[in-house]
Symmetry: C2
Subunit: 358 residues, 2 copies
């Protein structure tokens, strides 16, 4: 059993925890290791639920921040163990989880151990099952059993954001647009009705759709409406009686679920539309003083986050939240996932500067 | 082992041979039974290849007709054994193969036994594997090993045609129309290119396409161009990089394979088109005197056949061919396949009248 030495550098901790596979559903080895490293620390109060670990300071500070990171990864594809690579003379740690999001977790673990006297009380959360169904997500479980643990004035998710602050996130909705027809032998097509031909206007509307840019609290969220799947057909000699287009709508955090659904139904007016699932986004979370101090402490300028992340969960619970972590989000889930050494250091430095007693 | 009594009525023979399953690839039991019933007949010369049986008269008549029927069926779906049903007071034999095409085969078997002195020499062919890949078809095999057996002035396929003469058949072509794109996470769709959206003009052209009616030797063939399958998509959060539409073109027998391919490429100009397979049609086969005598003997008016059948094989070998058999072709392969008693009798009477010594 490896040991987790939190006096090592964030890079070394990243390497250690990436080399311990923790694909969703298989996080216990890593969770136990984190538990063993964190539990002895006298400045932290520990709570564990399954493979989710919560550690918090109780210093009586006037403000509290929740800083969270998931410890699971998408499946490994020949990219564990990690290795060191160099791109354009810049050193990177390569391998599954380096970007999404064990480098972020490593920085959090190191700071959890070292920041014994932060100027803001901190609730650290390391959780399981983020990369799979939301029902399985460790935070879903925790929100049900211990909602009090989410209390805070601000939250930071360590999701990869190239070491920049990415505020909030777009909402995410999937619908099925369906056309019906009548089956017939294709040698006598005029007896049937071709459901695939009927879907033509659906694709035309998608192809002509111009996604909106929506300003929300100073950030501009770019939306998107896209077919992600299409299927129809029975056999090579049969006029098809059904065609289905799965459409993914990414919508600005200023829209409610009802707004988003109404918009999609308007776009596909005249067609049968079933909503498969919907998750509203999160506003940037940058209005409060604490958020503004955070942005100025870590440097740079806040940007919008396009992908849906667990910030939306905090936002829905009334806690403004942002994404801030090392790693290029375009490389998340990629087989050539890798994180730059420099970004790991930057994020550690940024968080430390903001959290340390001035 | 049941016996095949060719002194029974055509309806009774139909029932017997339908109750012996002979799904493509599993025709031996039925072929053996036919062989045992036909081989003892002194007026017929027998040739067998696998489960294909050829029986011919050698009376030195100036003309010869080939009369053929396949003995296999598509898979059974709870519709064997047969049963008697009544629709609007009309009696039907219900079950797999009643239409496609054991009623036609039954009539042929009965006439093969009884017409010991026809006015035209007859080559009877009962063959296997018609409902599957053309490579497996018993006639494909026979054409390779014994092309001489196909010699004739005229050919009749007993495929279901509602007891009407259906001349020739349309050609049949399948193509794949393909669009390419660039994969990306659907939260950042603008980085990718959506292959499903790009297929919109393909479906618009199909939906707006007006199929042509093409007169050929006095019959009008109705063409058809239809999407029979569409597929594309990687996952619910990925911009798809590939979409494929399978298109089936049914084209008049006056067109060559090259004509047909050129037409389809014109319709989809600007898109990637792959021809999957192509089978040219057959002209009506009704120009010759022997064909005209046949049509007037069996009564009614000749119509065009829309579906591709083995008549095209005879036509390609220089033997004019028509379809003529009991059963509604719309019910072929249908789970409620059934043949009217009256049509079985009509077809038996028609063929007997034409073939008997005047």
């Amino acid at each position: 059993m490896p040991q987790l030495d939190l006096t090592a550098t964030s890079l070394e901790i990243t390497r250690t925890i990436c080399d311990i596979p923790s694909v969703s559903g298989d996080e216990t080895v890593l969770a136990d290791l984190i538990d063993a490293a964190i539990r002895p620390l006298p400045h932290l109060e520990i709570f564990r639920d399954g493979d989710t670990i919560v550690a918090r300071t109780q210093l009586g500070r006037p403000q509290r921040v929740v800083i969270a990171g998931h410890i699971d990864t998408v499946p490994i594809n020949g990219n564990v163990p990690t290795r060191e690579i160099t791109i354009d003379e810049e050193p990177f740690l390569w391998g599954r989880g380096t970007v999404d999001m064990k480098a972020g977790v490593a920085v959090q673990l190191k700071l959890a151990a070292e920041l014994t006297d932060p100027r803001i009380d901190i609730t650290w959360m390391w959780y399981d099952h983020e990369e799979v169904d939301a029902d399985l997500n460790g935070l879903t479980r925790l929100a049900r059993t211990r909602p009090d643990l989410f209390a805070g004035d601000f939250a930071i998710l360590g999701e990869p954001s190239n070491g920049q602050v990415e505020g909030g996130c777009n909402g995410n909705m999937r619908v099925i647009v369906r056309t019906d027809g009548v089956r017939a032998h294709s040698a006598r097509a005029w007896i049937g009705e071709n459901a695939i031909h009927k879907v033509a206007p659906v694709l035309v509307r998608l192809a002509e759709y111009r996604a909106r840019d929506v300003p929300v609290d100073g950030l501009v969220y770019r939306e998107g409406l896209n077919a992600v799947r299409i299927g129809g057909g029975v056999a090579g000699n049969v006029i098809p009686d059904l065609c289905e287009v799965e459409v993914n709508y990414r919508f600005a955090p200023s829209r409610t679920a009802e707004d988003a659904e109404r918009h999609v139904r308007d776009v596909f007016a005249g067609f049968d539309v079933d909503v498969v699932d919907i998750a509203v986004g999160a506003r940037p979370g940058l209005d409060g003083l604490i958020a503004q101090e955070f942005v100025s402490a870590v440097g740079g300028e806040a940007r919008p986050k396009y992908g849906w992340t667990d910030v939306a969960r905090f936002s829905a619970m009334g806690v403004p939240a942002v994404n801030y972590g090392p790693g290029d989000p375009h490389l998340a889930h990629h087989d050539r996932e890798r994180v730059s050494h420099a970004q790991i250091d930057d994020v550690e430095r940024g968080l430390r500067a903001w959290l340390s007693t001035p």
